[in-house]
C-alpha cells in the first residue's frame, strides 16, 4: 500500500477472558488516516473484543494499541475523547427520546449545549430521524435504532469511528442507507473508520483494506483487490456422486489444474488459471474415469473465495442466516425484558 500516516497502530493485542484460551490472539495492524478498514470474520472471531479493547471498554491481556496518537492503556480517557463508537448491540436508553439520548451523550463528552443542540439535530437529519427524534426510543424499529446509534457515535466529531456490524439485522433498504452514510462520512468529513462485518459485499464495496480474522488471529490482510489476487486463479466447484470415492488424484492430473481440495467426501474445490478452459477438461477426465458429475460451477475470485480460502468456511452459506437469527433474538430479548 502507499505510504500514509497511521492513525491507529495495534501491536500484538491479545485478550483472554478465562486465562486459557484467547478471544483475540496477538493482533497487529495499522490504519492510515482517512482509510476505511474492515475486520471480517465469522461469529466469535474476536472482532467485537478487538474493538472493545481499542475503545478502552476492555483491558487487553497483553499487547497495546495507539489510537490517534494516544495509548489505550495509559491515556484511556483521551482515547475516548477522540473516537466514536457505534456498538454491535443497541445501547441507547429506551425510556428517552432519540434527541434526549444524543444530547445526553453530548453532555458526557462535555460539549456545551450551544454546540451540541444544533449538532444533534443535524446528525438526526443525517440519519433521517429528524421527525422521530422526539419519540421514545422504545417505539423505534430496529433500523431506526441502529441509525440512532450511528448518530450518537458521531456527536463528538470523532477522528476515528468504530462501527461494529453497522448493518446487522437490517433490511436491504436500510442497509443501503447505512452504506451511503458511511461513504458520506469518509468523503465529506475525511473520517477514518474501522468497521466489522459479516457481509462480504459490504466489506468489498466499502473498505479500502480488510483484515480477515479467525479464532482471534488475523489470517489475511490487504485491499480487496490484493486479497482476491492472493487466492490465485478461478475456482471450479465439482460435486460427485458420493459412492464414487476419492477423485483428487485424477483431478490433479488435468493439465490446467493448479490445486485440488476435497471439501467433503463428494465435493471438490479445483483451482485453475483460466476456469472456462479447465472446466470441460475436468468434466472429461472425471467421466473417462467413471465418475458421475452431479454439479459443476465456475467462480471468478470474489471476497467469498478469499474468505473461504483463509477461514475454511463459507460465510454466505452458513453463517449469515445464523447471524441474523441471533440479531433477531437479541432484539427480542431487549423487547421482552
Amino acid at each position: 500500500m502507499t505510504e500514509v500516516a497511521a492513525l491507529v497502530q495495534v501491536r500484538a493485542l491479545s485478550k483472554s477472558f478465562d486465562g486459557k484460551s484467547f478471544a483475540v490472539d496477538g493482533v497487529t495492524f495499522e490504519i492510515g488516516a482517512g482509510e476505511v478498514f474492515g475486520l471480517l470474520g465469522p461469529n466469535g472471531a474476536g472482532k467485537t473484543t478487538t474493538i472493545k479493547m481499542m475503545t478502552t471498554l476492555l483491558r487487553p491481556s497483553s499487547g497495546t494499541a495507539s489510537v490517534c496518537g494516544r495509548d489505550i492503556r495509559k491515556d484511556a480517557r483521551e482515547v475516548r475523547r477522540v473516537v466514536g463508537v457505534v456498538p454491535q448491540e443497541y445501547t441507547t436508553d429506551e425510556d428517552m427520546s432519540g434527541l434526549e439520548n444524543i444530547t445526553l451523550i453530548a453532555d458526557l463528552y462535555g460539549i456545551p449545549r450551544r454546540i451540541s443542540s444544533p449538532r444533534a439535530r443535524e446528525l438526526l437529519r443525517l440519519v433521517d430521524l429528524d421527525e422521530a427524534g422526539n419519540r421514545k426510543v422504545s417505539t423505534y424499529s430496529g433500523g431506526m435504532r441502529r441509525r440512532l446509534e450511528l448518530a450518537c457515535g458521531l456527536i463528538n466529531r470523532p477522528s476515528l469511528l468504530f462501527l461494529d456490524e453497522p448493518t446487522l439485522g437490517l433490511d436491504v433498504q436500510t442497509r443501503a442507507a447505512v452504506w451511503s452514510y458511511i461513504r458520506k462520512l469518509k468523503k465529506e468529513y475525511g473520517m477514518t473508520l474501522l468497521m466489522t462485518t459479516h457481509y462480504l459485499e459490504e466489506a468489498d464495496s466499502l473498505c479500502d483494506r480488510i483484515a480477515i480474522i479467525d479464532h482471534g488471529k488475523i489470517v489475511a490482510m490487504g485491499s480487496p483487490r490484493e486479497l482476491k489476487a492472493s487466492v490465485g486463479g478461478d475456482i471450479i466447484q465439482v460435486g460427485l456422486k458420493e459412492a464414487d470415492g476419492d477423485a483428487s488424484d485424477i483431478l490433479r492430473k488435468v493439465g490446467q489444474v493448479r490445486e485440488v481440495k476435497r471439501t467433503s467426501p463428494s465435493d471438490y474445490r479445483v483451482k485453475a488459471e483460466v476456469g472456462e478452459e479447465a472446466a470441460p477438461q475436468v468434466m472429461d477426465a472425471l467421466r473417462t474415469n467413471g465418475y458421475h458429475v452431479n454439479t459443476i460451477s465456475l467462480t471468478k475470485p470474489s471476497l467469498d473465495e478469499v474468505y473461504l480460502e483463509y477461514t475454511g468456511r463459507s460465510l454466505r452459506d452458513e453463517d449469515t442466516g445464523k447471524v441474523d437469527a441471533m440479531a433477531q433474538r437479541r432484539m427480542m430479548r431487549m423487547a421482552r425484558s
Partner: protein, 295 residues
Amino acid sequence: MVAVRAEPAAEEHASTSPVHGLWALTNRELKKWYKVPMLLFFSLIQPVIWLTLYGTGMNFGTLFAKGISIPGVPPSEVASLSSQFMLNVFGVSNYFSFLAVGMLSFIVLFTAMFSGMSVVWDRRFGFLDKVLSTPVSRGAIIMAKVFSSVVRSLAQAAIVLVIAVLMDMDTSHFSVVGIAGTFAALFLMTLGLSSIFVMLALRSSDWQTQMAIMNLLNLPLLFASNALFPAKFMPAALQYVVRLNPISYGTDIGRQLLLGAPGLNTLAFDFSFLAGFAVVFSAIGVVLSWRYLTR
C-alpha cells in the same frame, strides 16, 4: 508509517468539568423517576401499610390502657400507668409517632437498595457500555446513581412524614431546625447506604442476584435497629449490631429532633457516626468504580 495525533475541536473543551457529566447522568435517573408517578405511589404503599397496621393497629399504648384491668384500681390510674410505661419504653407517649420516625429510615433504606438495581439494568441494556465509551469519569457514573438515589429517598421520606402527620403523629415538638436536622441525618444515611448498594452491583449483570442481596439485607437491617423497637430492651449481642447499624443513628436523630425523645447517644455523636459512614462508603464506591466498572 508516521503516527498521527488527532485533536478534538478546541471549542469542545470549553465546559468539560466533572460536574457536567455528573449532572447529566443524575438528571437522567431523576427524569425516569418523576416521569412515572405510579412508581412513586407504589413505593409509598408499604410504609403506609406499616404505619396503619403496626402503628395504629398494634399500638402498645392502647394495649396497655385497654388491656389491663386490675380490680380496685380506677381506670384513670391505669391510664397514667400506661403513659408512664410508654415514656419509659419508647421515650414518647405515642407508639405511632415512635414508629413514624422509624418509617422515615425504612423508606430511605428501601429506596437506597434499588440504586444497585439500576446499575444492573444499565449494564444489561448496554447503556452502561455507551456511557463507559465516553470520556465521563467513572466516578461520576457511580455518583450519579448515588445522588439520584439520595434525592429519591429524601423526597419519599418527606412524603411519608406528611402522611404520618396527617394520620396521627405528634407534632408538638416539631421545629424548622428539627426537621432540617432530621433530613440532614437521613441524607447522610442514604448517601452511605446507596453507595454500598451501588458498589455491590458494580460488576453484576444479573438482577436476580441483586434481588437476592436486597431480600437478604432489608429485614435484618430493619429489625436489628431501633426503627421498630427501642434498642435498650434487646439482648446484649443484638445491641452491638444495633450500634453498628447506620439506620439506628438516623432514627435516633429523628426521634430526638422531631419528638423530643431521649436519645441513645448525643446528637453530636450520632451525626459524627453518620457523616463518617457516608464519607467512607461513598469514597470507597468511587475508588472501586475506577477499578471495577470495566472488566
